[in-house]
C-alpha cells in the first residue's frame, strides 16, 4: 500500500470542504494532480494544493492507497466522504462529516471529530481515538436509512443522536453518550462502555444496545423483563434486559414480536443482592423518608420538587426514576 501525506500549510480563513481527500479520488494520480483536486471555502473554489503540502504517491487503486493528513485540521470538513476502499489517517482533530456515506476502507482519527461523522455509512471502519460529537452513524435529514453497515469505534465520548435511524452495523463508544441513542433504530448493535443520560432506544423498533455504565433515566415505554448472563466483546456479566420502545409498532418473526433491546450491566455490588431495577445504591433512611412525606403532605409532589428537596435537605442526588418510585411509596403510606 502506497502512502500520500497531506500537511496543512495554509490555514483556511473559513471552513474548508475537502471531500476530495479520499483514496477513491487520489488513486493513480500524481502529487501534482492531487494538488489540483477541488476544495471549497464558502463560495470560493480552491484546490487541495492551496492548503496542503502533498508528498508521496498513491497506489494504482483506492484499495492500495493510504492517505495521512496532518496539521491543524479542525476546520476541514468531509474527509473520507463516500470512500469505498483504502485508508485514511487523520493526525489530530477534524470537523464534520468524516466518513460520511463511506462504503469501505478504514479511517483512523487520532483526535476528536465534530458532528455527522459516519452518516449513512454502509461499510468500512471509522475509528476515532478521541470524542465524536452529535449524529454519529446517523441518517441524513429525512432519510430513514442511517448507518446500514460497517463499524464505528470511538475511544472517548459521543454526543447526542448517536445511531439515529440505524439499520445495521456496529458502534462501540468507550466513554459516555449524550441524550437520544438509537432513536428510530431498526437494527444494528451499539455498545456503550460508559454512562448514558436519557432517551436511550426511544422509538426503537429493532436492535440491541449494551450499556456498561448507568442510564440516568430509562424511557417509561421500556419494560424490564429479567436478567441475563451474557458476553459482550469479551466482557461477560449479568445484564438487565429491557424491551421497547412499547410506544412503537413492532414486527413479528415466527409469531414472536421483535422488540428493541437494552442490556444494562448490573454492577457487582448489586449482583450480590440480585438486581431487579436500575441502580439501587441510594436509599433514604426511614427518618429521611419521614421528613420527605411530611414536607409534601397534602401536596401533589412533582419529581423535580422532591428531587430538589432531597438534594437540599440530605445532599443526596437521586435519579428521576428513583424519585418517582419514592413518591409512590409516600402515596401508599399516606
Amino acid at each position: 500500500m502506497d502512502t500520500v501525506t497531506l500537511t496543512m500549510k495554509n490555514l483556511p480563513a473559513l471552513y474548508l470542504e475537502a471531500e476530495t481527500i479520499s483514496p477513491d479520488q487520489f488513486a493513480a494520480k500524481s502529487p501534482a494532480e492531487i494538488g489540483k483536486l477541488s476544495a471549497y471555502m464558502g463560495n470560493e473554489h480552491h484546490t487541495l494544493g492551496d492548503f496542503f503540502e502533498i508528498a508521496g504517491n498513491p497506489g494504482k487503486t483506492a484499495a492500495d492507497t493510504k492517505i495521512v493528513v496532518t496539521g491543524d485540521l479542525s476546520k476541514v470538513k468531509y474527509i473520507g466522504m463516500k470512500m469505498t476502499a483504502g485508508e485514511i489517517e487523520v493526525l489530530g482533530n477534524t470537523d464534520m462529516y468524516v466518513g460520511a456515506w463511506m462504503a469501505g476502507g478504514t479511517i483512523r482519527v487520532k483526535g476528536n471529530v465534530d458532528s455527522f461523522c459516519g452518516m449513512g455509512m454502509t461499510g468500512g471502519e471509522l475509528l476515532i481515538a478521541g470524542n465524536a460529537r452529535n449524529y454519529l452513524g446517523a441518517a441524513y435529514r429525512g432519510d430513514w436509512r442511517g448507518m446500514q453497515g460497517g463499524k464505528i469505534v470511538v475511544g472517548g465520548n459521543a454526543g447526542s443522536d448517536l445511531a439515529f435511524f440505524m439499520r445495521g452495523g456496529e458502534i462501540t463508544i468507550g466513554g459516555d453518550v449524550d441524550v437520544h441513542v438509537a432513536t428510530h433504530a431498526e437494527g444494528g448493535k451499539i455498545i456503550i462502555k460508559g454512562n448514558a443520560k436519557s432517551r436511550v432506544g426511544g422509538q426503537m423498533v429493532k436492535g440491541d444496545i449494551y450499556v456498561f455504565g448507568e442510564i440516568e433515566r430509562m424511557m417509561p415505554s421500556y419494560k424490564y423483563i429479567g436478567d441475563e448472563q451474557i458476553e459482550v466483546n469479551g466482557t461477560s456479566g449479568t445484564f438487565q434486559v429491557w424491551i421497547g420502545d412499547l410506544g412503537e409498532r413492532h414486527g413479528k418473526r415466527k409469531g414472536e414480536t421483535i422488540y428493541g433491546k437494552i442490556y444494562l450491566k448490573v454492577k457487582e455490588a448489586e449482583e450480590k443482592e440480585g438486581s431487579t431495577r436500575v441502580s439501587r445504591k441510594i436509599k433514604l433512611t426511614d427518618a429521611q423518608m419521614q421528613s420527605v412525606s411530611e414536607a409534601f403532605a397534602g401536596k401533589e409532589p412533582s419529581v423535580s420538587n422532591v428531587k430538589a428537596f432531597i438534594q437540599e435537605s440530605f445532599g443526596i442526588e437521586m435519579k428521576p426514576m428513583q424519585i418517582s418510585r419514592l413518591i409512590d411509596e409516600i402515596r401508599r403510606k399516606a
Binding site: P220, S221, V303, M321
Partner: protein
C-alpha cells in the same frame, strides 16, 4: 372624511386573521383605527403612525452614533457586502411577502449565500421532525367544522396567537360542531399553569424538558401497553392512561404544538413523537397535528425556498447548488462556529431572539438590517435600512400556519420617499448583477 377597508390580513402571527377592518384618512396617508385585531395586531398597525419613525437608512459610526445615508448608498453598501463575502448569511424573511422572498432567493443564488428564515429559532425542529416522520394535518377550517378534541402541547395561544381559539380551535361553531366549545374537550400540556391551561378540561403539568418521555408513554398507553414508573415525566400514570382514552374517544382530534416542544430538550424528537402519536390515533379515530407557526409569513418563506431550492430553511447555496442540514447550515450554528463572514437581516430580529453568543457574532460581522422598526438588530448592525411595513403599507402573498396562502392588502401609503423591502432588494439584486458581470 375617512375610508374603511375590510377583509384586511393581520401581519403579526401565523394565524393570519383576514377579517380586520381598518379605517384610514381620505388621502390614505393616516391609519386611524383597527377593528377585530388582537392587542398585538392592533399595536402593529398603529405603530406605523409613530411620530419618531425612522424613514431613511442609517449607518452606525465607530462611536455607536448613527448618520443618515441615502437609499442609493445603502444599496451600494449592501451589494458590495454580499459580493465581497465568501459565505454571507441572509437571515429573516418572515415579516415580508413571498414576492420579496423570491427576490432574496435570486440574490442569494447570485452571491452564493446561505439563506435562512426564522424557523431557525422557532419551528425549524418541527420541519426536521416532519422530514423524519411526515405530518398528518389539516386546514384550520377542518378544525372549526369537525374537531371535538383539542390538545395544546407546549403552546400558549392565549398569549401568542390571541384569536386562534375564537376563530378556529375552541369556540367557533362549524358544520359538524354546532355546539361550539361545549362539544370540545381541551387538553393542555405545559410545565406551567397558563392562561390557556386555565380553560382546559385536563391540564397535564409535564416536567419541563420531559415531553418526549410523556409522549412515548402516551403512545404506549394508546396501544394498551404497561408503563414503567408511577409518575411519568411529572404526571401520574393514571392520568396518562386517562388522557390516552380521552384522545381515542374523540371523532376528530387536533394537536396544536409550539415552542414548548420545539425549543426544549429533545427538540425535533418531541415533535416526532407527537406526530407519531397523531399517526397512531388515526388507527382508532381521526387525528391531525398542526404547528403553531408564530411569525407572520415564516411559513411562506419555507414554501418559496421549497419550490425554488427544495428545502424549507437553512439553505446553503455557497457551492452553487443547494444543500441543507440545520445542524451545520442553520444560522445559530453558523454564527456560533463563526462560519459566516457577513450577514444581511430582513424581516426579523435575531438581535432580540438569538442567544447572546450569536448576537455578539452579528455585531462583529459586516452587517445590514432591513427592518421598519428600530430593533436590537438594527442597533448592532453596521447599516439599518428602514422599509415600509409589509401587510400594511405594501401588500403581497403570505402563508398561514396551515400553509393556506392569503394575499395581504396594502391599507395606507408608506411615509414619503420610503422604499418597500421588495424595491430595495430588487435594486440590490440589479447592483449585484452589475458587480458580478464586471
Amino acid at each position: 372624511m375617512t375610508r374603511t377597508i375590510t377583509d384586511v390580513v393581520c401581519p403579526f402571527c401565523g394565524t393570519l386573521c383576514d377579517d380586520l377592518i381598518v379605517t384610514v384618512s381620505e388621502d390614505g396617508k393616516k391609519l386611524l383605527d383597527v377593528e377585530n385585531a388582537c392587542a398585538i395586531g392592533a399595536e402593529k398597525f398603529l405603530h406605523t403612525q409613530a411620530s419618531d419613525r425612522v424613514t431613511r437608512p442609517r449607518k452606525i459610526q465607530e462611536d455607536g452614533s448613527s448618520v443618515e445615508v441615502s437609499y442609493d448608498e445603502a444599496i451600494e453598501y449592501t451589494a458590495q457586502l454580499l459580493v465581497n463575502a465568501k459565505k454571507p448569511l441572509m437571515y429573516g424573511w418572515s415579516s415580508t411577502s413571498c414576492e420579496a422572498q423570491s427576490v432574496g432567493s435570486e440574490i442569494a443564488e447570485q452571491v452564493g449565500a446561505i439563506i435562512d428564515n426564522t424557523a431557525a429559532v422557532c419551528h425549524g425542529t418541527t420541519l426536521v421532525a416532519v422530514q423524519n416522520v411526515g405530518i398528518p394535518s389539516c386546514t384550520l377550517g377542518e378544525v372549526k367544522n369537525r374537531a371535538d378534541r383539542i390538545i395544546f402541547w407546549g403552546c400558549n395561544p392565549a398569549h401568542a396567537h390571541p384569536r386562534h381559539m375564537s376563530r378556529y380551535s375552541i369556540f367557533p361553531r362549524g358544520y359538524f360542531t354546532g355546539k361550539g366549545h361545549k362539544n370540545r374537550k381541551l387538553i393542555v400540556v405545559d410545565p406551567r399553569t397558563t392562561d390557556t391551561s386555565s380553560l382546559a378540561d385536563v391540564h397535564l403539568q409535564v416536567e419541563q424538558g420531559a415531553d418526549y418521555e410523556l409522549l412515548q408513554a402516551l403512545r404506549a398507553a394508546v396501544r394498551g401497553q404497561e408503563l414503567t414508573g408511577d409518575i411519568i415525566a411529572g404526571v401520574p400514570k393514571e392520568k396518562v392512561y386517562e388522557a390516552a382514552d380521552l384522545l381515542k374517544s374523540g371523532r376528530f382530534g387536533v394537536i396544536f404544538f409550539g415552542m414548548g416542544v420545539t425549543q426544549s430538550l429533545g427538540k425535533d424528537h418531541n415533535i416526532d413523537a407527537a406526530i407519531m402519536l397523531t399517526k397512531d390515533l388515526n388507527e382508532y379515530t381521526k387525528f391531525s397535528i398542526i404547528a403553531m407557526r408564530g411569525h407572520y409569513n415564516v411559513t411562506g418563506s419555507g414554501q418559496v425556498l421549497g419550490w425554488q431550492f427544495g428545502f424549507p430553511y437553512s439553505v446553503d447555496l455557497s457551492r452553487g447548488f443547494a444543500r441543507y442540514n440545520p445542524g451545520e447550515t442553520g444560522s445559530i450554528e453558523l454564527l456560533k462556529r463563526k462560519e459566516a463572514d457577513a450577514i444581511v437581516v430582513l424581516g426579523s430580529d435575531p438581535g432580540a431572539h438569538f442567544p447572546v453568543r450569536c448576537v455578539r457574532e452579528i455585531a462583529n460581522l459586516p452587517s445590514v438590517c432591513i427592518d421598519p422598526h428600530i430593533t436590537p438588530t438594527s442597533e448592532i448592525c453596521k447599516l439599518h435600512v428602514p422599509v415600509a411595513f409589509v401587510g400594511i403599507e405594501v401588500g403581497g402573498n403570505c402563508y398561514r400556519m396551515d400553509n393556506v396562502p392569503i394575499d395581504s392588502r396594502k391599507v395606507i401609503e408608506p411615509p414619503e420617499g420610503m422604499m418597500t423591502d421588495e424595491e430595495f432588494l430588487r435594486a440590490v439584486n440589479t447592483r449585484v448583477s452589475e458587480l458580478k458581470a464586471a
